[in-house]
């Protein structure tokens, strides 16, 4: 960790400038959501535990496993057992979950680092890819939050690696998804752990009517991936594989972007193609189109400052040249924003979402010391960077109630009680998981709802029914806000289900969908504050109604 002391010096020299910049910032005058801790009252009692191998990991999958369209949870446990929790939260009410065994062999729930939901077999029931220290698992969803191990039926070789990243995409003409696994340190290699990162793995489905992953492909070199994401970085419709890597253990490594052309071998983008080497303690990726150019920008968490990458002016369709805009957007989140600990932060899960429903994208970052690294902040609160209309981020974690001291890892920003206001579940290392309910904006008389919202679920048909890879464009006034349906990113944490967008003061919106194969939908007219379902080819959007109440009125406190 020689770099750490250098880093501390760097920050000491630059903090004053950053602080000055911060002082020159206009105040954030829009709503700050207030989050209330409800894990205990909701029935969630869960910790992510374990020695060195579990310093990383600690993910959560947020997805509907019993077809009631409420996000249920699967929480990684490390050396403790992972756990399924079924969501019984009433619409707009206090959060309520119930632990369930899901029918899985308890041994398969051990050594779990994270998980991602997706429907691998196109049966419209979400499955779960479980990342473990040792054999990875595909748990086939059977409905009713029951699962069965499907490694054998899918010819899926779970491997023996220390798997810490995952992403999936449907490549053109494929019935089943292509799966990518990111591996960490090869603990059996000579000289381990330093310079011994295990290769990553790409699994393309073999031709046929059933999913068969019998021909895995090694992606070398591996640089100790901690997050990966299939992403259409150049807006060509072809999704390449972005990987963020932990410099702590690689030697000569860097961040990676694999070109994954259909039916051809993956190939790393090189410096000659415009890819600039970047070495960080990469731990999480999130993507969002921050500047409205139709191309995703990326948040990369690390130790020290968070990176915010956008395509450089020199970039071209085949030249992925990025520059960092975290400083200009004031999203570096490089040290704790409260408390006396001024050492650099350690960032893990990153997720873009509009948590205050003002139409601007916000950035949540889970923070926490690796274990007891003295060069880094030991009390490291999670970040809530609220975006404004000028594209600047404002740290409001303290006001929002997110400034806890736990060593946070994975997380999911999702709406657990269907009130249109995003809640957060956070997995903490050696500490209870947090379940934070978004109550709305605090006032002197209570809480008031945030801005308008929509939540959109897509139905792509028989293949890839959850439309992984689709882009959702929502037109409000003169603006278009976008989201991409993806599987991957964050820190070993994934989610599936409704895609949430804040609509601010807009009462109506027009939605267009670019389906995973690139085909655009017709425009769909929707009204705010409803759950919308768009079926491919349908002439009108449908609404989904919770059984227990009107979501539009549910946020009454």
């Amino acid at each position: 960790m020689k770099f750490s002391s250098i880093l501390v010096t760097f920050y000491a020299l630059n903090l004053s400038a950053m602080t000055a910049a911060a002082e020159g910032k206009a105040p954030f005058l829009m709503d700050v959501p207030h989050f209330q801790e409800e894990a205990t009252s909701a029935g969630i009692d869960h910790r992510y535990m374990g020695p060195w191998e579990y310093f990383v990991g600690g993910g959560v999958a947020s997805f509907d496993c019993n077809s009631d369209r409420k996000p249920d949870l699967f929480l990684a446990g490390g050396s403790s057992a992972a756990a399924f929790y079924v969501n019984h939260s009433p619409t707009g009410g206090a959060l309520r979950f119930e632990k369930t065994d899901a029918g899985i062999d308890p041994k398969d729930l051990e050594k779990v680092l994270g998980a991602y939901p997706l429907d691998i077999d196109n049966d419209r029931i979400l499955d779960l890819v479980v990342l473990r220290l040792g054999e990875n698992l595909v748990l086939r969803g059977k409905g009713g939050c029951r699962f069965e191990k499907a490694n054998r039926s899918l010819a899926f070789e779970g491997g023996r690696e220390w798997t810490t990243a995952f992403a999936a995409t449907w490549e053109p003409e494929q019935l089943f998804p292509t799966l990518a696994f990111g591996n960490y340190v090869d603990r059996s290699a000579p000289g381990t752990p330093f310079g011994t990162c295990a290769p990553n793995v790409l699994m393309r489905p073999r031709p046929g009517e059933t999913a068969d992953y019998g021909e895995p492909l090694s992606l070398e070199p591996g640089y100790c991936a901690l997050s990966m994401l299939f992403t259409d970085w150049n807006n060509t419709g072809e999704r390449d594989l972005r990987i963020t890597n932990d410099r702590q253990y690689y030697r000569g490594g860097q961040e990676q972007l694999w070109a994954v052309p259909a039916a051809r071998a993956p190939k790393l983008y090189s410096a000659g193609q415009g890819w600039k080497p970047l070495t960080i303690w990469g731990m999480g990726i999130a993507e969002a189109d921050l500047n409205g150019d139709g191309r995703p920008d990326y948040a990369l968490t690390s130790m020290g400052d968070t990176k915010l990458q956008t395509l450089d002016d020199d970039a071209e369709e085949d030249r992925p040249t990025y520059r960092d805009i975290a400083f200009e957007r004031q999203a570096t989140a490089h040290r704790p924003y409260t408390g006396s600990d001024v050492k650099p932060s350690t960032g893990w899960h990153a997720q873009f979402a509009d948590v205050n429903n003002d139409t601007n994208i916000d950035l949540f970052i889970a923070k926490g010391n690796v274990e007891a690294m003295p060069e880094f902040a030991s009390e490291d609160p999670n970040n809530l960077l609220l975006g404004d209309f000028d594209g600047i981020f404002h740290e409001e974690g303290l006001a929002a109630g997110l400034a806890d001291r736990a060593r946070s890892r994975g997380a999911a920003v999702d709406d657990f009680n269907n009130d249109g206001m995003l809640d957060i579940v956070i997995v903490n290392r050696m500490a209870p998981a947090s379940l934070l309910r978004n109550l709305g904006a605090r006032t002197d008389w209570g809480h008031r709802p945030l801005g308008n919202w929509t939540k959109i679920a897509l139905d792509n048909g028989k293949v890839n029914p959850f439309a992984v890879g689709a882009k959702i464009n929502v037109r409000i006034g003169t603006r278009t806000i976008t989201r991409t349906v993806s599987v991957g990113g964050g820190h070993v944490s994934g989610q599936a289900g409704f895609v949430h967008l804040g609509l601010g003061v807009n009462e109506r919106a027009v939605v267009r969908v670019q389906w995973p194969d690139g085909e655009w939908s017709q425009p769909y007219r929707i009204f705010a504050n409803n759950h919308v379902v768009i079926e491919r080819g349908a002439t009108a959007a449908k609404y989904w109604l919770p059984l227990d109440g009107d979501a539009a009125l549910a946020s009454r406190q």
Binding site: A26, L29, S67, N452, I476, F527, K542, W544, Q557
Partner: protein, 473 residues
């Protein structure tokens, strides 16, 4: 400190200090009633308190807003959602087309009294304010030209709309439960107060198919105001209009909470209209008396009007222009329940204000049915209809849909007070009642044809009847 920051801080300080900043002098060119209602209004208002509030609202309605008040929106368009423009309009801020197009509410709403309708000269040019916001042409490819509507009885209209909306939401919720309970799809006819809004089909999993809805938005919210029926409440209408017509931006939609700045329109007047100011305007409009049927002094007119009332029914006019709708409660809550963020609703405030319309003499004399419900004599159905067909396109003279409502679809005009609000039609371009009746196509075609096929005496009787529907104290 960067210039933009200095300006932002100054604006915030001004906002904190209140507006107007300096104590008002009697000669000041400001509207003194701005701010008089206080920052917000809540709770059940006594008759005295309500009278004071409506008095402020009346004066605000009649005010000629000045630049010192905040009149003007050099960097904002007329759009109902905060929308910036890069430069002030080249031709100046006042414009009879794109707006600002009036100095005060009563500049247009004045027929026969303030709060009423307006004649052709008061037409407004409705555009979204997103693309081509600065149009300077009356060409219909840029805007829809509309006459000014009357607001008399508007409180009752909004209460009816709320009750229908609540009723339809309940029916939808019941269908949802029923589909889940039976495990099969349920198709339910949506009917409230005798008005048929088509069908809703709900699957056991909660999916709702809305393709068979008729005359109502997908969210089943009745939006009773404007010619198209696209505004939920007097509050929403007021906030929209203040920006569009006067460049007076209400804090509850254009304020810092939603735009990041208290001076969105860039005229250096922060928080121009407070929540309380809007409340005062709403209170005055909501308590405007309901138009009534006047008994003609002339015996022949009286006789013909009676005949006309019957013909109005038998010829089919009353299918849409329903003579009355029952209303359960005269308790008007502001903010109301069905507005969404951008217009205050009852979840956004500590406690809504309650205006008891029973306090007003005009409300006490409204007829009631056997259930004790007030029979609101609106001659309307709070439903949208297609008003053209292949053979009759007169009312299809607009080119643009408005807020998801197609160009030839309009809300049934309430006919109470129609005798006091000529000319007619959504463009105010029909000079007689006979002309507008003949222009009905689409859903109104059968009744119009029946009118045209009727004997001359019956046509005259219908006009005689409609001429008794007046706005008057």
């Amino acid at each position: 400190m960067p210039h933009a920051l200095c300006r932002a801080v100054a604006v915030v300080l001004c906002a904190l200090a209140g507006n107007p900043v300096l104590a008002a002098e009697p000669w000041e060119e400001r509207t003194p009633e701005i701010g008089q209602a206080g920052p917000e209004v809540s709770g059940l208002l006594s008759a005295e308190h309500l009278a004071r509030l409506t008095s402020i609202g009346e004066k605000l309605f009649a005010a000629r807003f000045t630049s010192l008040d905040g009149n003007g929106r050099p960097f904002a368009t007329q759009a109902i959602v905060p929308t910036r423009r890069k430069h002030p309009p080249a031709a100046g801020e006042f414009s009879r087309t794109a707006g600002m197009d009036a100095n005060g509410c009563s500049g247009c709403h004045n027929l026969p009294f303030p709060g009423g309708a307006g004649e052709f000269v008061t037409n407004v040019f409705v555009s979204e304010g997103f693309e081509s916001a600065d149009f300077d042409s009356t060409d219909p490819q840029f805007s829809n030209e509309r006459g000014t509507n009357s607001l008399f009885g508007a409180g009752l209209i909004e209460l009816l709309a709320r009750e229908i909306t609540e009723d339809l939401h309940r029916q939808r919720s019941e269908a949802r439960s029923e589909a889940a309970r039976r495990g099969e799809t349920v198709r339910v006819r949506l009917v409230s107060k005798g008005i048929d809004y088509g069908f809703l089909t709900v699957s056991p999993d909660g999916m709702v198919d809305m393709r068979e809805l008729d005359g109502i938005d997908m969210d089943l919210v009745i939006r009773p105001f404007s010619q198209k029926g696209v505004m939920t409440s007097l509050r929403q209408f007021t906030v929209n209009a203040l920006n569009h017509h006067h460049g007076m931006e209400a804090r509850e939609r254009f304020g810092a909470r939603w735009t990041g700045t208290p001076d969105f329109d860039g005229d250096e007047k922060p928080d121009e209209i407070s929540d309380g100011d809007v409340s005062a305007l709403v209170a005055w409009q909501a308590t405007l008396y309901a138009p009534q049927q006047a008994a003609p002094q002339d015996a022949r007119w009286q006789q013909m009007a009676e005949r006309g009332a019957k013909a109005f029914d038998t010829l089919g006019c009353a299918v849409c222009h329903k003579p009355s709708l029952p209303l359960s409660s005269l308790s008007f809550a502001d903010p109301g329940p069905f507005d969404v963020a951008g217009t205050l609703n009852d979840r956004q405030v500590r406690e809504p204000a309650i205006y008891d319309l029973n306090l007003f003499a005009w409300a006490k004399i409204l007829p009631r049915n056997e259930k004790g419900e007030v029979l609101v004599p609106l001659f309307g159905d709070l439903k949208r209809h297609v008003m053209t067909d292949g053979g009759r396109e007169t009312l299809g003279n607009e080119l643009m849909a408005q807020r998801f409502v197609d160009r030839n679809i309009f809300m049934t005009a309430e006919l109470w007070g129609v005798a006091s609000t000529p000319p007619y039609g959504h463009r105010n371009d029909m000079t007689t009642l006979d002309e507008i009746i003949r222009a009905h196509g689409g859903s109104g075609r059968a009744a119009s044809d029946a009118y045209q096929a009727a004997e001359e005496v019956d046509r005259q009787a219908i006009i005689a009847f409609l001429k008794t529907l007046v706005i008057g104290p």
